[in-house]
Amino acid sequence: MIKDTQRFKPFTRDPIALVNEHGEWIGSFDLDLDDDQLRTLYRDMVAARLLDERLLLLQRSGKSSFAMEAAGHEGIQIAIAHTVKRGFDWLFPYYRDHGMLLALGVPALEIFAETLATKADPAKGRQMPNHPGSKKLNAFTVASPIASHIPPAAGAAISAKIQNTGQVVVTTFGDGATSEGDWHAGVNFAAAQGAPAVFVVENNRYAISVDLQKQTGSENLAVKAKAYGMPGYYLDGMDVLASYYVMQEVIERTRVGAGPALVEAVVYRYGPHSSADDDRLYRPKEEVEHWKQRDPIERYRKFLAGRSLWDEAWEAELREEIGTELARALEEAEAAGPVPEVWMFDDVYAEPLWPQVEQRRLLEEELGA
């Protein structure tokens, strides 16, 4: 059964927004975040943007092989990090969520180490850049195959329900992911079980070059929830406060047993799909510029300035502080040194079987020679 949350209605015609483009509050309720909380949202969005820039620089300078930018996605990502119970709820992120994970508390050191495949990487250099994960923070390690994490997310939520843990499982993915069979299989199962799962699509209108009109015949992605018997919230994901309040309500509604929900967060990616892409082949520059006018950080800066919670000096201080933290983390990640070659034979199974033992010996001989 589709139940509304308290403040927000599912299936709205327009994306839910609480701050307009001039940075003015347009919500119909009173803001109840204190100044510190309001400024932390800003700080974390800036940190996400700066991390994004660093990761791209690592690729450009040849230190890493690949980068996927997330600039434009910060509003919804930071809102999620601040509305889950950190280290208690589970997250099933996708490859554009490094900023979200940083805000969740994944150390920048680990993100850089994953990018550079050094010994400080908890995944031991097995994954390509932009594929972090953290057991400590219940953030499921990112997998490249689109939507392959949706059924596992449903399973984790069903497990939380069976074990009555009170946890919510929040899963993110792009608009393209909603076309995969795995997506439907996972969402349907979670709904049939009334599991505590929140599915969030970071809809940036493109799956590499394929635009939304070619991806789906639906008017938007939120409406897909209706057929599964769950509410679908249509949200301005570049409005961090709207994202915060919608996610908060949806997560808590789900936590108390109301079943899963879908949130469509409308965002835009400013950069190409990845460092291997050339977006000039499929979208006009003017379109990118148009969306940049809605930038989550700039819009929210106006909001904060309007309440005297932002000034140039604080901005400079903030950037300096984050920049130093990131630089230190990167240094530490590099200093850990590259993962040893023979690590590739570990963790295939709980204990290596004879093929891994034999093949490891073969490689050692080859490298020793």
């Binding site: 939507a147 995969e180 069979g181 795995d182 991806q215 590739m344």
Partner: protein, 324 residues
């Protein structure tokens, strides 16, 4: 005659086949407006329009499954799977529908279609952008399987695959897409499936390979020649059917054989070739057939270059085979 890379040869061949036969259509993720993420379909949508070059939703099940329906209904679809690693969401359609349609309908319905996919490692793509899953396909009766390694072969074999009346999985090693340029004739030519290419003539040892490992195998062959050992080098090119005759002939003559491929060792195509050799020409062998393969691990990110057979690994194995 033009000089081109492997990926250019693919794009050129698709263009020629689409011009030749209106039934040929191309479908896949990003194949239209963007011309494919590797540009293997560059320019085709501008030329033939969005009805014949279809940007699909992000679903491999939809791509392969729809290709089956299109083929049964009279088209000649050429589907692109963006990376071989992403065939798995479409695997059911490939195995349950494409491979078995002719058989289960008593040949009333057939699926003359091609499923192209970039395969193999060496591009720092990690386990989900580096796999060579050919063994799965060969293990599925009803699918023909091609793995190309040169621009010339890409053209001749892709033409054959498109004109073939059965579903053909067509694997393109992505690290070779732009690795070499070669002259590719302008005229229409085809290369039959099941015919190996002789890359070097020799009597001392047979080196059998296909796909991604071509540069390492050919370099190892050069090294051997420098020290007076003359290997007979065969590129299988097509795995179902595969050129058993050429293999058995060469092995019988040289008495020593190695099979080199990048896919994991267990239940690999290299194992199939080794087993066939052992069964059919054991009495001609002077040493056991040796496989040099990828490791039985997922494809690692950090050890990208060490996972697949290196020149050193090939040469070390050669020593064992020659000194046996």
């Amino acid at each position: 005659m033009a000089t081109m890379t492997l990926v250019q040869a693919i794009a050129r061949t698709l263009d020629e086949e689409m011009a030749r036969d209106d039934a040929v259509v191309v479908l896949g993720e990003d194949v239209g407006k963007r011309g494919g993420v590797f540009l293997a379909t560059e320019g085709l949508q501008q030329k033939y329009g969005p009805d014949r070059v279809i940007d699909t939703p992000l679903s491999e099940a939809a791509i392969i499954g729809a290709a089956v329906g299109m083929a049964a209904h009279g088209l000649r679809p050429v589907a692109e799977i963006q990376f071989a690693d992403y065939v798995f969401p479409g695997f059911d359609q490939l195995v349950s529908q494409a491979a078995k349609l002719r058989y289960r309908s008593g040949a009333q319905f057939t699926a003359p279609m091609v499923v192209r996919m970039p395969s193999g490692g060496g591009v720092k793509g990690g386990h989900h952008h580096s796999q060579s899953p050919e063994a799965h396909f060969v293990h599925t009766a009803g699918l023909k399987v091609v793995v190309v390694s040169t621009p010339y072969d890409a053209k001749g074999l892709l033409k054959t695959a498109i004109r073939d009346d059965d579903p053909v999985v067509f694997m393109e090693p992505k690290r070779l897409y732009r690795a070499v340029k070669e002259e590719v004739p302008d005229e229409d030519y085809t290369i039959p499936l099941g015919q190996a290419a002789v890359r070097r003539e020799g009597d001392d040892l047979t080196l059998i390979y296909y796909g991604t490992v071509a540069p390492e195998v050919l370099q190892a062959a050069d090294e051997l020649e420098k020290v007076g050992i003359r290997p007979h080098v065969l590129d299988l090119r097509s795995l179902m059917p595969w050129d058993k005759e050429a293999v058995l002939e060469a092995v019988s003559r040289t008495g020593r054989v190695m099979i080199v491929a990048d896919a994991p060792r267990h239940a690999s195509f290299a194992s199939e070739v080794a087993a066939t050799i052992a069964e059919e020409v054991l009495d001609q062998l002077e040493a056991p057939p040796v496989r040099v393969t990828g490791f039985d691990t997922p494809y690692p990110y950090a050890q990208d270059k060490l996972y697949m057979p290196t020149v050193t690994r090939i040469l070390n194995a050669t020593k064992k085979v020659l000194d046996y």
